[in-house]
Symmetry: C2
């Protein structure tokens, strides 16, 4: 996976409680060439948050200018107050270095990214079953019954959109989910349509 | 890779001398759930060849009947004398058991298989360069200069058709090529379009 070719953009969605963060975190810990996407936000930094690491903190005016400049892969308003967006420049710069970028995002945002970046690899992390997802949410011990019900209902709606993704990874055992993600990255790097340059080099330019 | 889902048909092409057999052999040795496709032929068995292992030996009449019955993924005449074909039934039976089937075949045959079996995974094994392929052919010590020239020219023609394949695997170090093939199998098993049943089970049948 450390070849000198353009890195991949891996768009990762999945319901709350499925363990996206755990899987992506384990993947990044193993592979220094994989980076998490850093979002732009108009909200104020919280204590300990570092510019360029947790977020790029920008004013609403700056954010609006970025929208005008078409500088986002996707962006959205939250509660009609703060803006969040995925800056193209960060993702492109990392990919040009040969690094892969993981963008954790909800289904709606993922579909926008697919439009602005058609070569993104779309991965949905799914629970073994809705029942197991519910048990995991209960197990957290931090969710109210109402919140668990809402999250389970939302999860079902999200799962229905699974066919819009390229891959599904079942997060049953974390290590297996990580291995599945590694295989997806490796296989995608070997897709012929991502290797036009190499094919040109092998054939002297001619293909039929 | 040992999950109870339908296995994959992996169509593998690549120029003479690239090491297809070595890569596929190593893959099969590691994974008992991967099988080589067994062809039907009208030629006579050679000493030691076993029916159903090396080939299915059939008469021309039987072969013609199989053509009529649409029983081949692809078939061809060789030297206007003997017929060779890939029987659908063998491939399907293995895939239904959850096994993967590797079909080593030339580019022309591969394209026919892609038509009759659109969910086949098309893999092209390529050399690091044409120069290196030529060196390997020379290194065999069994090829005449003329044969090396012909094979190199044929290899170039085959490489030009690389974009028709889903994946390309560079056979530089065999172990790495095997790992690439493993990743392709694993990733393909996680493609959403191969998991319609699982998605239906997760969502209770509704998708949007």
């Amino acid at each position: 996976m450390a070849r000198k070719k353009k890195g991949l953009l891996l768009v990762v969605s999945g319901p709350a409680g499925v363990g996206k963060g755990t899987v992506d975190g384990a993947l990044i810990a193993k592979h220094p060439e994989i980076k998490m996407s850093v979002s732009v936000t108009t909200r104020a930094p919280r204590p300990g948050e570092i510019e360029g690491v947790h977020y790029f903190f920008r004013t609403k005016e700056e954010f609006d200018r970025m929208i005008e400049q078409n500088a986002f892969l996707e962006y959205m308003h939250v509660f009609g107050m703060n803006y969040y967006g995925t800056p193209k420049a960060f993702v492109e710069a990392e990919r040009e270095k040969g690094n892969h970028v993981i963008l954790e995002i909800d289904v709606q945002g993922a579909m926008k990214v697919k439009e602005t970046c058609p070569d993104a690899v779309m991965v949905f992390i799914a629970p073994p079953s809705l029942q197991i997802l519910k048990q995991r949410l209960v197990g957290r011990g931090t969710e109210t019954q109402e919140s668990i019900d809402v999250r389970t209902a939302t999860a079902l709606e999200e799962l229905k959109k699974l066919p819009r993704y390229d891959y599904m990874v079942i997060n049953d055992v974390v290590e297996e989910a990580v291995a599945d993600m590694e295989a997806i990255l490796s296989a995608e790097l070997n897709r012929t349509e991502r290797n036009a340059e190499l094919i040109t080099k092998l054939t002297g330019g001619e293909t039929i």
